[in-house]
């Protein structure tokens, strides 16, 4: 399951969706809003998504992970809108029979979402300005 959410992420509820009788290992990832980035103090940030394509690409990533690793369930949700410090921006959880598959699949999903899913972050800096982050820009 992959979704874009404009509401705060409820990690406990999402983790509940990983249950299953053959589950021996669960790995969960939370990406949170940090109070700094590249040496600048951050007050908060906003995420914007091209929702239709982001959900399609996210679901594709989850299916890729299911095909590559022996997992039971995969859940990933990415937040959009304005986030305060400490809020969860992205949550990913994987359950599996064994721990190696759970770790590998969780990391695959998070890495691929960050690289491929059309979501953009605007950082709001303590000094008052804000800007969109486009990795690779000079």
């Amino acid at each position: 399951m992959f979704a874009i959410s404009d509401k705060p992420i409820d990690a406990a509820r999402l983790q509940g969706e990983l249950e299953g009788r053959g589950v021996g290992a669960v790995v969960c990832f939370e990406g949170r809003v940090r109070d700094h980035n590249d040496g600048r103090a951050v007050n908060g940030l906003s995420y914007q998504a091209y929702v239709e394509l982001a959900e399609a690409e996210g679901r594709k990533i989850v299916e890729e992970a299911r095909a590559r690793f022996a997992v039971e369930r995969i859940v990933c949700v990415h937040r959009v809108g304005d986030l305060a410090l400490g809020e969860i921006a992205v949550w990913a959880g994987v359950s599996a029979g064994h721990r190696a598959a759970a770790f590998d699949a969780c990391r695959y999903v998070v890495d691929e979402v960050k690289a491929r899913v059309p979501i953009w972050k605007r950082e709001h800096y303590a000094e008052g300005v804000s800007e969109w982050l486009h990795p690779g820009a000079e």
């Binding site: 998504a49 953009w120 605007r122 486009h134």
Partner: protein, 79 residues
């Protein structure tokens, strides 16, 4: 032909709008981007953007049809 454009992140800031309808003689994605980059002052070269038509990733040589929805995607920064 008429195309529907969606703009995100810094392209949205540059264009000053999140979407627009554009009447254009551009036949493919690359020509359309050149036209819009000139009009809105987009500084991204095509190599740094991805492009989607009607909700699916496609390539820069994609031929366009009337009323296609076209999106130029700046480098992503989710997560």
């Amino acid at each position: 032909m008429n195309y529907r454009l969606l703009y995100f992140a810094s392209l949205c800031d540059s264009a000053g709008r999140a979407e627009e309808m554009v009447a254009s003689d551009a036949q493919d994605v690359r020509a359309l981007y050149a036209e819009l980059a000139a009009r809105h002052g987009f500084t991204f070269t095509p190599e740094r953007l991805r492009v989607a038509v009607n909700g699916e990733f496609t390539d820069w040589n994609r031929h366009l049809a009337d009323h296609d929805e076209v999106v130029f995607l700046p480098p992503v920064s989710g997560g």
